[in-house]
Amino acid sequence: MRDAERINSLSDLSLGSDCQIVSLELSGLLRRRILDLGIVPGTLIRCIRRGPSGDPTAYMVRGTLIALRSEDAAQIFVRKLSNGEECV
């Protein structure tokens, strides 16, 4: 449970781990795009795969696979969920 309280950036997630969005520190058009895709505080997100060279990374959000570059993902903050925890 201690682990669950730690705030990470989305880009630091390891493959296969689940987490919940805490805040978006993006601005401008990108912020709107991200919000439009349903990546909002509280959303569950899972890190699925990385591109052949390690970037971009694909995340599963609300049943959709979305790829983000690590620079952008670094500005999205998340709370790691321990196994089996489900909310919202």
């Binding site: 058009l29 990108l30 509280g42 052949p52 694909a58 696979l65 790829a67």
Partner: protein, 466 residues
Amino acid sequence: MCAMSPSRVLSEVYGQAECVRNSYLKSFSDQIVADIYGNAEQITKHVLSKKESQRISFDLTIDNLVTSKWFGYPLMILLLVGVFWLTIEGANFPSELLATVLFAFQDQLTLWFQWAGAPNWVHGVLVLGVYRTLAWVIAVMLPPMAIFFPLFTLLEDSGYLPRIAFNLDHIFKRAKACGKQSLTMCMGFGCNAAGVTSCRIIDSPRERLIAILTNNFVPCNGRFPTLIAITSIFIGGAIASYSGLINALVISTIILLGVAVTLSVSWILSMTILKGEPSSLVLELPSYRRPKIGAVIYRSMLDRTLFVLRRSIIVAAPAGAVIWILANVYIGDQNILSAVAHILNPFGQLIGLDGFILMAFILGLPANEIVLPILIMSYLSTGSLQDYSSLEELRNVLVSNGWTWLTAINVMLFSLLHWPCATTLLTTYKETGSKKWVFLSFLIPTLIGFTACFIFTQVVQFFGLV
């Protein structure tokens, strides 16, 4: 009174207000969006039931292969070669059949014109000019298009294309461009004008301009029948067996060269006139679908094949008439066509082409499809073209006009790297709204084409390889 001028105070207050408003609004708007999504989620939970696990695991399995470290890139290249191999092999027979039928009909037309007592020049312009060029364009263009477009639409429909963007994004990022540019390049295979329009999917204006300016380095459907014909004659034909596969490899190499040029030019543009850092990428990777065969055939045939064919026919018909007139109006003892080619010749020779080839490329500005037909027409400008029915005859025509493998490679290089067609230029103007970018989109490929052919020719001639 305060020492500060009122305007300064006001601007400071305004700045602070803006600051507060932004920080407040951000979290506030986040809250609103989160609530909307929360509501939507509640509703979907009530009304939708889905069985998901199987589909998602199927997607994951394919993605594991398609975007893997080791197989991702080889698979992309394999697909590229495969698509062109199928196109070349498949187009071979129908192309010859079409040519035989269409040129046989030309003889029939000639008989009818003679029977009607039409003057010679009417027969010349309409049959030897317009009809023959049309027959050429259709015989050379239609079969490859009718195979390539459905194959491409299949790939598009299956959901594979976004994976290409996913795999290639980091390379484009290094060129300070956007990974989605690879999607616009894919559209460019069909038609560069469509490719330029598709650049709208790129959010950042700077990266969109880069994608527009470099789209022409992908050979479009108007150009690769030319590439295929020339490879088949001079490279695949030289190595008898497996020639289809070798042709496909050559074409793929040319395309990879185009990709390399695209990346370099993107990078150079990012360092110079379109300075900037790569912005963001948000790319959706849709789940794979089984393509609907009927829809694929309908879309690729009606929307693409027939659309492109119609456009090239509209351009080719008047071009055919003009060519015939130029070839049959004499100044002194030389027809206009030869006279112009004669003037262009020294320049053409310098870059390993000749005057006729350069002229064909210039006259092909309205549509790249007609470059090869124009070239053949001009070589045979005496007016009596034997029926074209096989690549072998085409080879004889070209070789007797001094073509070597060096000429063939230069023509392919120049076809890949030269000015965009008029439609693409027009579309670029529509998309950018500025003559400056249109001019640049003309200038950049042209300069690169001349330089590449010049260097290649001079090097080969220096070492005496031809």
